[in-house]
Subunit: 135 residues, 4 copies
């Protein structure tokens, strides 16, 4: 298990380009926030798909490290995305991740993403991660 | 919108081979039960993957028809499955479906499947359905 | 590695309900045929989605066993389907599987499914399988 | 239909941040190259997952616009990724996209991604896109 402070330090030193905020950690769950700026928009004034995909991947990674600890070498094996609504260009993206399975060799989780303040998700993701054996 | 009785009649007459029980209908949600018998097991004494996939597809279809009415000609466009745990060969499968998006042209829903009485899901599915324009 | 004869014997004894024909085995590839009868159709006269999903799962399993041998205990972890065209109710389904990765712990393959004689696929699937460590 | 020159002009003016090169356009197919620099790597010296996902999305978008013309308002509905091998940090990523279905309302394609010069793919994606009705 890793705490919010430990995770913040880990991402600041190991993934300095990862610009998200850990909002909350729970049992097998994590919520992160992505601050949306001009750089994340695409023509038509909406958050681009790749930005949503990056946020989902980050939320899953945070939830897995929080659960398994920073030593875990989780490797993404598959990710499935469904894009549901056009995100609001003026609001941050909130990603809520829940781990559905935490096995020795495999972790599977799902992520619902929202434009902050909206009830209806803008996108949904399911990801599976292989955990290499520790010797 | 279609009621439980209307849906039961619809499946009995149009899909007589579909052997599941509608347990509950809610707002954009449905729960169905699949009675597990010897015929649904595979070597090793577990419910086969194709049976779980059939149940997920049925749960999504029930939730969509309940929401849009029996006239809806929903066509499955994509289905994604993650298999999480070995189902119990002695218990029915309970599938809980929630629709995440109900648009004019596209409906997307997710399904969690359980061996009855267990808290942890045995499988999870996300499906998207195209709704052809009605003229 | 398992031969066509070994695989046919394996499915006949272990999965007697699996009614498909192994057409061809290649390097990291397999082609199977599913004979379509009345029992596989749904209203509107097309092959049902669950039948296509079962065929894809079988094609992946055949290709994996052919590659790794019958002792392999491959466990499906995820399956993704895209339904592309309405299959012909009068033709068999041909499923062509290619393995994209054959790792020690993970195998990933894709399957294209056709109504026999057609050039355009009716459905496409990608599946990943965990291979438990052999002790 | 859009030519390579038209597409290059379109991306340069509408998506100036999209830094990829269109290598080749074919019938229902496209190949693009992503030049890999330090900015695309993650700890351990490999190309990050989000970079691969962005490249797959771009390859699908190029193939769709080449086929349907620049007026097409393709909206991503689902994307499925499988990560197969660790990409080489010193080589560009080559993404080869083939459209499996080009319908009036739905386009579905697949993408194989390679570290340049390697035979084995590093990742594979399948995406579906809704094409809104033109009035």
């Amino acid at each position: 298990m890793a705490s919010k402070t430990e995770l913040e330090h880990f991402f600041a030193t190991e993934f300095p380009q990862a610009d998200f905020v850990i909002e909350e950690l729970g049992s097998r769950s994590a919520t992160i926030r992505k601050c949306i700026t001009e750089a994340h928009l695409r023509p038509g004034g909406t958050v681009s798909g790749p930005v949503l995909m990056e946020v989902a991947d980050a939320a899953l990674y945070v939830a897995i490290l929080a659960e398994l600890g920073l030593v875990a070498m989780a490797v993404t094996t598959s990710l499935n995305f469904n894009f549901l609504r056009k995100p609001d260009s003026n609001r941050d993206i909130i990603a809520e991740c829940t781990l559905m399975k935490v096995g020795k060799a495999l972790v599977v989780g799902e992520v619902s993403m929202y434009s902050e303040g909206d009830q209806e998700p803008v996108a949904h993701a399911v990801g599976s991660y292989a955990i290499p054996p520790r010797n």
